[in-house]
């Protein structure tokens, strides 16, 4: 238990948040900005991601607690700190971890001026809300909480491990508008979710008419866990076998899903540009290797009622304890169901409004980076909006940014983001072209790098591409 807690707290602190890639969004110098808005303005002619290195993304966070909150080397007791945090945090606080790895990414401009792009990436995504009442029950017990209804419905968590195959098109429709769409095929290797749970547990002090001192009651319980890709792993022997089996599902071995990304760029005038995208509008259809568990019902425990039966020699009394266990299983049965289920992907919405100034010329004679019509600005300032749909509602983030093309080869973007985690998230991204090799790195929460333990979220993306401009 103690080890489990330690590992959980450590993971929570070290990993980073909720899929927001505020630095890469609208950062058109990297091909990966096309993954955040399929309708973004593409200024290059072709790109190839360097396999396995074109995008490495890790992101994790916890909205209510940092590693420092728990493990700081202060004089107070660590258990007091945990107690304090358990009571401070709300049941809408959450822990998340996301990781993405691009296996392949490529794109080219066809003769009809449509920019095609496609690729494969692998994604891991996890979120768990803080089940506050259960944490209190485990941490303090029910002794000080007579008549308090512990909410079993606070359990809300999902986890997914999948491969995504995608292919997109991007076209400049007219002087002002560029639109794009991307079709995605998901191959889910492993997935679970436990959401929309209900129920309470309460210990009431009985009165003189009660059977016993207390009444322990589980009321309106309906707790379920849906899994796919799990049942077949259970019989496997050891972690090596499991890893081998899961990776074997990479190539369409899992449950299939389908989705789209949509986006546009609208140049309002020379200075203002509006962009927006909706990502992962789709669902995964869990059809095979599905196993769901559901426990539901009501039960009141009064303790063991002895009835002192008259027994002859060698005869044994009633199996009181077994009877209680049986009764519990009868009243709150745990059903194992093999129903297929459909899981909607968490839809992500991005939007941005950018104001550009300072015309950018790559050289004195020719605007080489801007063969297309339109203006390439030297500097941009803007606002961005991000939202992701999670089990307990939307999570939102707002970003202010400043972007600057330093020269033909290097662009940088600085961001200030307000989200569920903090009001002081400063990020920075740099994209550099060395010959035709493009390298980019983007990280947020830079102010916390002096002491990562204090960060509630960390996000990092980096990658290498080959970009061909003409």
């Amino acid at each position: 238990m103690r080890n489990f807690l330690t590992v959980m707290l450590f993971l929570v602190g070290v990993l980073a948040i909720s899929q927001n890639k505020q630095i890469l969004y609208g950062f058109d110098d990297t091909p990966q900005s096309l993954m955040l808005n399929p309708g973004s303005k593409v200024i290059h002619k072709k790109h190839y991601g360097i396999p396995l290195l074109s995008q490495i993304h890790i992101n994790g966070g916890s909205s209510g607690v940092s590693v420092y909150d728990i493990f700081n080397n202060g004089n107070d007791n660590i258990n007091d700190r945990i107690t304090k945090k358990i009571f401070e945090m709300k049941n809408t606080d959450f822990f998340t971890a996301t990781q993405q790895l691009e296996l392949i990414n490529f794109g080219w401009r066809a003769k009809n001026e449509i920019f095609f792009s496609g690729g494969i990436y692998q994604e891991f995504d996890f979120i768990s809300y803080f089940p506050k009442d259960l944490a209190i029950l485990a941490w303090e017990g029910n002794s000080d909480y007579l008549d308090y209804k512990f909410d079993l419905g606070e359990v809300s968590t999902t986890g997914d491990f999948m491969t995504v195959y995608h292919f997109g098109m991007n076209k400049k429709i007219n002087e002002k508008l560029t639109v794009g769409a991307r079709l995605k095929l998901y191959s889910s290797m492993f997935s679970y979710r436990s959401v929309n749970n209900t129920g309470t547990f309460v210990t009431r002090l009985g009165d003189e008419n009660s059977e016993n001192i207390y009444e322990h009651t589980v009321e309106n319980a309906d707790v379920s866990v849906e899994t796919s890709g799990y049942a077949s792993l259970r019989e496997l022997d050891g972690p090596n076998e499991v890893i081998k089996e899961v990776l074997g599902r990479t190539l369409f071995g899992g449950n299939i899903g389908v989705g789209v990304d949509l986006g546009f760029t609208y140049e309002i005038n020379d200075a203002f540009v509006l962009t927006a995208s909706a990502l992962d509008v789709g669902a995964i259809f869990h059809r095979k290797d599905v196993e769901n568990y559901r426990a539901h019902g009501n039960y009141t425990l009064d303790g063991i009622n002895l009835i002192f039966p008259a027994l002859s020699d060698g005869e044994s009394t009633y199996p009181y304890y077994d009877d209680i266990e049986d009764e519990f299983e009868r009243e709150i049965p745990i059903d194992t169901i093999h129903n297929k289920y459909t899981q909607f992907r968490p839809v992500k919405i991005n939007a941005g409004l950018s104001f550009g100034f300072g015309r950018f010329f790559a050289s004195d004679n020719c605007d080489c980076m801007n063969m297309d019509t339109g203006v390439l600005h030297k500097q941009n300032v803007g606002v961005q909006f991000y939202s992701i749909f999670r089990p307990k509602g939307q999570q939102l983030a707002g970003t202010l940014y400043y972007k600057r093309r330093l020269n033909e080869f290097i662009s940088a973007k600085a961001t200030y983001t307000v989200d569920s985690y903090s009001f002081s998230n400063v990020g920075l991204g740099v994209s550099a072209d060395v010959g035709s090799v493009n390298f980019y790195v983007a990280a947020d929460n830079l102010l916390k790098y002096g002491n990562l333990a204090k960060a509630k979220s960390v996000s990092l993306q980096l990658g290498f591409n080959i970009i061909i401009d003409d």
Binding site: V67, F71, N79, G141, G303, L306, Y320, L428
Partner: protein, 181 residues
């Protein structure tokens, strides 16, 4: 100008990545993390009639009634390690005009007595039941004895009885488990 900017931004990144660290923390404290929940849980209860202490068929008193129940979680290895203290609380409501001796014998899987306790219950009256409360705290060495058991035998002994005896003996009980993980 641009060169300066490039260099400064690059060095900023380099600095950040190389100086990024986790400071002022002590992960050894994980060793000290302990959960210490206090759980309240009902134990056993019964209602005995005065007539239960008299065998009307043979016309003889039954001076001791005995029953047994398993308490399977008690000798669970997790509980053996984490239980620090157990407070037993028994509440008797007696309207039988007799005092009682109630004994609790905790038995292991092999039916050896590992722990025992008991109490006297005050004599009651049919019209005015008398309440006897009994609290028994188990801690320290005794915990390891208690958690060897997985069942309890309850014996209720009456000093004398006859067919005209009236009233009921009710018992309710609970245990407060002080755990530490």
């Amino acid at each position: 100008m641009i060169r300066t900017l490039v260099i400064s931004i690059s060095s900023l990144f380099l600095c950040l990545f190389f100086t990024a660290c986790v400071r002022d923390t002590d992960f050894d404290q994980a060793e000290d993390i302990s959960l210490s929940p206090i759980m309240e849980l009902d134990l056993i209860y019964f209602n005995l009639q005065a007539s239960d202490f008299y065998d009307t068929i043979n016309g003889t008193p039954i001076l001791t009634l005995r029953d047994t129940t398993e308490i399977k979680f008690l000798d669970d290895s997790t509980l053996q390690e984490s239980l620090k203290r157990a407070d037993f609380y028994f509440k008797f409501t007696n309207s039988i005009p007799r005092s009682f001796q109630v004994d609790f014998e905790f038995l292991s899987e092999e039916n050896n007595i590992t722990y025992e306790t008991g109490t006297a219950v005050e004599q009651g009256e049919v019209s005015t039941p008398v309440i006897t409360e009994f609290t028994h705290i188990v801690e320290g060495e005794a915990i390891s004895q208690l958690t060897l058991a997985n069942k309890v035998v309850v014996s209720v002994t009456i000093p004398s009885s006859n067919e005209n005896l009236q009233g009921t003996l009710n018992m309710k009980s609970k245990t407060t488990y002080f755990l530490e993980y």
